[in-house]
Symmetry: C2
């Protein structure tokens, strides 16, 4: 068998992790593969900074094209991130006959179709396990291992930054701001964490999951997204009293001819395994019609866990090259022209249970007015808590509803917010509350 | 692309699940694969019993050879179980040029090498995802997704029967006997559950895991095995007070040039995710040197979850056939002649923390004698509880030790058991108690 030669574009955190893995675990990779993965060239705009690993000088270049066009190189690994010039580099590499591995979820979410078409035309592989769930092999699991299943639903905790912040708020009673500062100081949040906090990163990942699981390409613009910046420690505390943790969940649910796909803070019952996924960890709960309940847990980001996924892809493609094949598995899990015709349901049409926190003046008749506004729209109430001291003349009234239609909740909340006894915008958080077959069978 | 034709040997529970999956989820499989998986023939000694699914009469035969020798059939699925005639059928199928899928862990544990050699000689695939962990794709994960990792350790809850019984004892205070009866009545335990209860089934699975993860073939006879029939509800209760659940764990631990591989009841701290894996569920906690902590959870047995894994293998082999290849991945995860030279450490040489329950006469000086017997062997004590009423003149003394050598514990316990103040054999259960990098980073 021949060696497989690799060109790396981008020597940032993940790139350095990939180089380190290929160097340090060379032996075990050879034992398992029966051939060698040789890192031949690395391109980066900065080749002078010390990355803390020993890289031969002549392996480094600032000229990406010289890596992409190197005729000896079989696989290009794109770890630059962003759209430009990553997209051009991947396109050039595919046209130069290279297979490509990327971890670039934003690029795949926005320009996936073009890139996969390019790979198809050039009969090359384009793998992206590291784009979703870091070290958790969720792409391989959905596209290969669980292939016989219709996916009943998939719930994910897909963003470590948000999960770290919510865990910190839950366990130490921190405010959102303090938790975010701590996440930054520990390296769990970037200097500008906007795309994490506002749910965009989770939605990018959910878009890929929805493509793979349901054969719906390019769904990003139809996924409903709500971030965690509106979560108050008061709501975390109320949720706890009610038996829930607040998590940023990404949900994909099969509704027959349609699919729900949404990212938002969610009250998750304590008896769900997902409620135990804390700190910077990620997890996917996948229910299939054949396999029933499964869960996959691990680090969703970070230098080495992401490198593990990238090198796994390199090895997979290496095996294809040794076998003389490419395109063994459809890029997005469904064969050419065989995607499903399922549509994503607009958020207004979904149903859910809801947690409502309404700051109201503590005066007789207010609860009746709230209940009336809900009742008019067929929203029935599971429980009401009125607790704690007044804040500026208002007390929080917390309600849990039975299953209700999202659009009904919205019009009811609009009416409630217009009452003179109500302060500012009421808080609305969706509640996860499945009919359970048995106590074990929960996400 | 051509259809892939399948012959099924054994129409028991799993076989029926596989047939049902191939029939009912035909469409989604075709969309994802781009070709069809056609179940052509089924052999079973009983072809008259109604299995509750609609199988065309002419698909059924009592003549396994006619299925194995059918020139149209590409893949033989062996779901008979046991050694004879399963081994002969698989061998014949490979020699007839068929690829094979099996769920037969006992056969692989005892005759794996012969069968894989036969597959190799005939250049055919032999897949077995369903043999370990039911619907959890642990084989694919270890052999493919996490290939870049040295596996620091792997902890598994690999037997649903034992986990169900221990959960029932923990949650409802049942005796072992009552919990076993309940497991039988619910179908979680077979009429003769010996191989589950005594740990043999877990050891078969651990043997396969050890082969895949560390490249050590045929290790079954070197794996230390202890079952759960000696677990008393008293120990479950003491463990709970101390912050632990008792689980039957299968452990594989990398110790440099050696490997620990053992199956035994274990005290698992409440803060481990593995302690939340209850009922008939299975889970694998895999720590890799690159990916760090990961966990895989799902149903480890049962008709449909096992069928999910079998059909996943059929699809994988189908893709290989369409690409005109076989042997893309080494059967046991390591290339020909590239297995590691690691040995399994004899149980006497391992170290662990221990839970000891010693029934002693409540008399001054007894504890000093026990502590003396331990201290002589450098076994230091973390905590002592003496609790509850006398039973026939004895009271239970419960000790947790610091890390100690297994052989030292054994000689100490032997000495303690010889004291006239001590009743019968003291209870010894290993305790899981890792040095934790952080609170999240626990199995």
């Amino acid at each position: 068998m021949q060696d497989i030669k690799i060109g790396l574009l981008g020597l940032g955190t993940i790139g350095t992790g990939v180089a380190q893995t290929l160097f340090n675990n060379k032996k075990v990779l050879e034992q398992r593969l029966g051939f060698s993965l040789i890192l031949k060239k690395i391109a980066d705009i900065d080749i002078t900074t010390d990355r803390g690993i020993d890289i031969p000088r002549d392996m480094l270049t600032t000229d990406a094209a010289s890596v992409i066009e190197d005729p000896e190189i079989d696989i290009i690994v794109e770890l630059i991130g962003g759209i430009k010039p990553a997209k051009t580099f991947i396109t050039d590499a595919l046209r130069a006959g290279k297979h490509v591995v990327t971890a670039n979820k934003a690029l795949l979410a926005s320009h996936g179709k073009e890139l996969f078409d390019e790979a198809k035309v050039n009969e090359r592989d384009l793998y992206f396990e590291a784009a979703v769930g870091g070290g958790i092999p969720i792409i391989k699991t959905l596209r290969e291992a669980l292939i016989s299943n219709n996916y009943t639903f998939i719930y994910g905790i897909l963003n470590g930054t948000c999960n770290y912040i919510l865990t910190e708020m839950t366990e130490n009673g921190s405010t959102f701001e303090n938790a975010l500062d701590k996440a930054k100081s520990l390296g769990y949040a970037e200097a500008d964490p906007t795309l994490d906090i506002d749910g965009t990163d989770s939605a990018h990942k959910l878009g890929i999951i929805v493509s793979l699981a349901y054969g719906i390409p390019s769904s990003m613009d139809k996924i409903y997204v709500e971030g965690i910046s509106g979560i108050d420690s008061l709501d975390i505390a109320f949720a706890k009293d009610l038996g829930y943790k607040i998590k940023l969940l990404a949900l994909a649910i099969d509704r027959g001819n349609q699919i729900e796909a949404r990212v938002h803070p969610t009250l998750v019952p304590f008896n769900y395994l997902l409620s135990k996924v804390d700190g910077a960890f990620n997890a996917f709960y996948v229910r299939g019609d054949i396999v029933d309940s499964t869960l996959y847990y691990g680090r969703g980001a970070g230098m080495m866990p992401t490198a593990s996924a990238v090198v796994g892809d390199i090895a997979d493609i290496g095996r294809n090259i040794q076998s003389g094949i490419a395109g063994r598995i459809p890029y997005l899990g469904y064969g050419e022209g065989l995607s499903s015709k399922k549509q994503i349901i607009p958020i207004d049409n979904i149903t859910s249970n809801y947690y409502l926190r309404i700051n109201a003046i503590d005066r007789p008749g207010v609860l009746a007015k709230i209940a009336g506004a809900l009742g008019k729209r067929n929203i029935s109430i599971v429980s009401v808590i009125q607790k704690g001291r007044q804040q500026k003349g208002f007390v929080p009234v917390v309600l849990l509803t039975h299953e209700a239609k999202e659009s009904n909740i919205r019009t009811a909340i609009q009416e409630i917010a217009s009452f003179e006894e109500i302060d500012r915008n009421p808080i609305v958080i969706r509640v996860e509350n499945k009919d359970l077959k048995d106590n074990r069978d929960v996400p």
